[in-house]
């Protein structure tokens, strides 16, 4: 299965990678990768986080030089020393992070850096309309980019690339930030670009997208090509095996959800813990009518009210940037809300210090692990006991050895893999970092409420599973859990009940049931929840 090399002349190979290797210090991110991308195809690049997908894209786009190996475009050697060379060779890339000026209009963003002298806004607007028609990328030319949704902003980025008439369009994990509808339309755009004769390299780790859009697929694992497929839609199982070295059947439903195979893959297994049964414990956390404005005076949270009961996992679904971050900071005690109150049991925590939150029994797995959750330049042990250094202090002196011993125990219990308790936190993989943070927050004495904000972002499949297991275990011993996530599948899998946040408001609530998927998706997009037919009919 390791023979993707095809004859360039016969198959219309657009881009050929030959033994491409990239090392960062002692770490080999990409090792002797052979890959051919043909004109007119949508080529999916699959792999877990850290498998080398982004490195490969960056090499092709000229962001780093390869350590070894060579690239050819239409048979001719291609050695880019920067994105400029890539663009000159007809290779354009949409990065995960957008580079748009929010304050400017769509057209102005398109013209940025590409025009001189007199600005022909109307002409560019016409070009935009032409492209919109050709590819189905509707955009209002004079809308302010800051007012657009994430999906529309991504469209602007794609149009920026398409205006260059590229021969190869690279999309680095474009669907991670999109709503289900937006994903479908994006995949449609990919198809049309391919039909026009260009190639699309689509980076993803969601298998449903491959089924829908891929002509061919390549799987990377640990920097090497683990599999290639000429008919990926029919070979999903083989690709999954190559990606995670495991069979699809043995995946639990949570994992299937992160991979996106739950809906399109084999029928859901009946052994899935039924989420519908909501534990009826006493109320633990009460978020009462909390509002918050940002420094510019824009309302970020607008009368959020939510009550969590003991043992209950509530999912807070929403597209990123709808107030989840602000709510997370308030629940961590790092910001006081402008108005409204926060109760844990009978205790009013509004405006109290983080220490009071921790003492009251609030654990936080923050969305920004590196800024809020941990100190990357300190050791794993120091991070695990960051809020409990007092336990290891005698006469003001910190007994590090005792702390490291205790940390070693915790690392074993929570399966945190590192060279030792003294390993630098920043050196750990994302999954192990998250497990270390969870170890700290879940072992806090008297834990009653856990906030898990985007807890699996950037984690590989195995770690995702572990994080879900830890969250479920906490709930089963009576902790109320608020799971903030922008992955609809994730909340559907883990939560008992789902609240949807849109523009700082809770716009609706549903039991966690896949049959409500469309209604929840619509609410996430800011549409009123559609009238739902009785669930029993829909389930048929």
């Amino acid at each position: 299965m390791n023979a993707p090399v095809t004859d360039a002349k016969s198959s219309g190979a657009l881009l050929e990678l030959d033994g491409l290797t990239r090392r960062f210090g002692a770490f080999t991110a990409l090792s002797a990768v052979d890959l051919t991308i043909r004109a007119g195809e949508v080529h999916c690049l699959l792999g877990e986080n850290g498998a080398g997908k982004s490195t490969l894209c960056n090499l092709v786009f000229g962001m780093h030089p390869p350590s070894e190996g060579e690239m050819r475009v239409e048979g001719k050697p291609y050695r880019p020393v920067g994105p400029r060379d890539a663009l000159a060779a007809g290779i354009a890339m949409v990065h995960q992070h957008f580079s748009l000026v929010d304050e400017m209009s769509v057209v102005d963003n398109l013209m940025l850096g590409r025009v001189r002298g007199i600005l022909d806004r109307r002409g560019w607007a016409r070009r935009l309309d032409g492209l919109a028609e050709r590819y189905g990328l509707a955009l209002a030319p004079f809308a302010r980019v800051g007012d657009l949704s994430i999906g529309e902003r991504q469209r602007v980025e794609i149009v920026k690339c398409l205006m260059l008439e590229p021969r190869l369009l690279i999309l680095d994990e474009p669907t991670a930030v999109l709503l289900p509808d937006e994903i479908r339309s994006l995949l449609g755009v990919c198809r049309r670009v391919a039909e026009e004769g260009a190639a699309v390299l689509l980076v993803t780790h969601k298998l449903a997208e491959i089924r829908e859009a891929a002509d061919r697929a390549t799987v990377l694992r640990q920097g090497q090509v683990a599999a290639t497929s000429e008919a990926p839609a029919r070979e999903i199982e083989r690709l999954v095996r190559a990606m995670i070295r495991r069979d699809l059947d043995t995946l639990d439903s949570a994992m299937a959800a992160t991979l996106g195979v739950a809906e399109a893959g084999p029928a859901e297994k009946p052994d899935k813990p039924k989420p519908a049964e909501i534990p009826a414990g006493p109320d633990v956390l009460q978020i009462d009518n909390i509002s918050q404005r940002d420094a510019d005076g824009a309302t970020r949270l607008n009368g959020v009210t939510l009550t969590l009961r003991a043992g209950e996992i509530v999912g807070l679904a929403g597209v990123e940037g709808n107030g989840q971050s602000e709510l997370g900071l308030i629940l961590a005690g790092l910001r006081a809300p402008d108005s409204g109150r926060l109760f844990l049991g009978e205790q009013d925590l509004t405006g109290r210090k983080p220490t009071a939150f921790t003492q009251a029994g609030i654990g936080i797995v923050p969305e920004d692990r590196h800024r809020v959750g941990a100190i990357v330049d300190m050791s794993v042990a120091e991070n695990i006991f960051l809020n409990r250094t007092g336990d290891f202090t005698r006469f003001g002196l910190l007994r590090r050895q005792a702390m490291y011993d205790a940390a070693a125990e915790m690392m074993q219990r929570f399966d945190v893999r590192a060279t030792g308790p003294d390993a630098r936190f920043g050196r750990l993989s994302g999954g192990n970092q998250q497990k270390a943070v969870l170890a700290r927050e879940l072992t806090a004495p008297g834990l009653r409420f856990l906030l898990a904000a985007q807890p699996t972002r950037g984690l590989d499949v195995g770690a995702v599973e572990a994080v879900y297991a830890l969250i479920r275990e906490a709930a089963s011993r009576g902790v109320a859990v608020l799971l903030i996530s922008s992955e609809l599948d994730e909340v559907l899998t883990v939560a008992h009940r789902i609240a949807v946040i849109y523009r700082g408001r809770i716009v609706g609530e549903r039991p966690s049931d896949p049959r409500h998927r469309n209604a929840i998706g619509a609410m996430m997009a800011g549409q009123a929840a559609p009238e739902e037919p009785a669930i029993s009919e829909k389930a048929a």
């Binding site: 210090g25 005690g333 983080p354 809020v372 300190m378 809020n387």
Partner: protein
């Protein structure tokens, strides 16, 4: 900056030691070359260099007293720097320390206090004055986010001019004007308020300040590497948000750290005044605060580094004065050498950090 918390302050001890040694050698070679270019016979230069530094018990003592001042400023600097703060206000903290020490020492009755309180009370006053001066910058930072580099520097200017005011106005500390030739300086402090000499011999006037500096160096090393407070400083310095979330108060940490740095500066000012100068004069701090800041920077956060750098700077300063008098070599030469050392060490540090970040 290096994150490890060994006594050396860097996780790469061999390079961490090698770099400053090479820097000093480079600077020494450059200094020799410059002396040759000035046309001064090398033997004359060397002779006056030795005379000023290790040529006599007196020279050694004076150099050690200078090193003590540098060490105190440097220790305060690395402690605050552990919390991510850059205290460039040593000069001002020395100045307010000197004012407070003079004012208290000249206070009626203080000279008559028993059990060494005669000099301990003014020293304590100097320390408290420095503490307040440092804490002020801390409060400004914690409350309204003023960058401490700016605030400590500006507070230094204020303090240095306060000294001028004090010695110009008889209502403050200026000695009574008996004639038009009365110098703008304070009365000399009573003998009882002067810091005792360790040797008890004016031919080797090294003061008890040396003991204080040694004890404080040990304490700071312990605090930085072993104590919970040191951990708190480190945590806040590396990541204020995560540290706050873990229950360490940012405001308290910042104010305390800068207050301690100020206390070290105030103590240094008190020691300079009561141990060496004995009367307050305009500009008496003469750049010790800024050189002490450099000592702190060169040490890269390690107490041993502070000790080594402060000894080097203390003896070099003596050498500069002696070479100017003995061999007509401008003291600026020593400043050039100091500058070279700083450039070399800073450059090497930058290179090491980049190399570390490279993989």
């Amino acid at each position: 900056m290096s994150a490890s918390s060994t006594l050396l302050g860097t996780g790469r001890a061999p390079l961490g030691l090698l770099v400053p040694v090479l820097a000093v050698l480079t600077a020494a070679l450059a200094g020799i070359a410059l002396i040759a270019m000035l046309g001064v016979p090398f033997r004359d230069a060397l002779e006056s260099f030795v005379d000023g530094t290790i040529g006599s018990p007196y020279a050694i003592s004076v150099s050690l007293n200078r090193s003590v001042v540098y060490a105190l400023i440097g220790l305060g600097f690395i402690l605050a720097n552990r919390a991510g703060l850059t205290n460039v206000g040593g000069e001002g903290q020395i100045a307010v320390g000197g004012i407070a020490a003079t004012a208290l020492a000249l206070q009626h009755g203080v000279g008559a206090l028993p059990f060494g309180l005669a000099f301990l009370v003014p020293l304590l006053g100097a320390t408290l004055a420095g503490t307040a001066w440092g804490a002020l910058a801390g409060v400004l930072k914690a409350r309204i986010g003023t960058n401490e580099v700016i605030s400590t520097l500006l507070l230094s200017f204020i303090a240095v001019w306060l000294v001028y005011w004090c010695v110009q106005s008889t209502a403050l500390l200026r000695q009574p004007m008996t004639s038009a030739a009365t110098l703008p300086e304070s009365l000399p402090v009573p003998e009882a308020t002067q810091i005792p000499l360790l040797t008890g011999d004016a031919a080797a006037p090294v003061t008890a300040g040396l003991l204080a500096a040694i004890v404080l160096a040990v304490v700071v090393a312990l605090v930085l590497t072993r104590s919970r407070f040191g951990f708190q400083l480190h945590a806040v310095g590396l990541n204020p948000t995560a540290a706050t979330r873990a229950g360490f108060s940012y405001a308290t940490t910042v104010v305390t750290a800068l207050a301690i740095a100020g206390a070290f500066g105030g103590l240094a000012g008190g020691l300079m005044l009561l141990g060496e100068q004995y009367s307050l004069r305009a500009g008496f701090s003469s750049g010790y605060g800024y050189d002490g800041l450099v000592v702190g920077l060169l040490s890269r956060g390690s107490v041993l580094g502070v000790i080594a750098a402060s000894l080097l700077f203390g003896f070099l300063r003596s050498a500069g004065i002696s070479m100017e008098m003995g061999a007509s070599i401008p003291t600026a030469l020593i400043q050039v050498m100091q500058g070279l050392i700083i450039l070399t060490v800073a450059g090497a540090a930058y290179w090491l950090d980049r190399r570390d970040a490279g993989h």
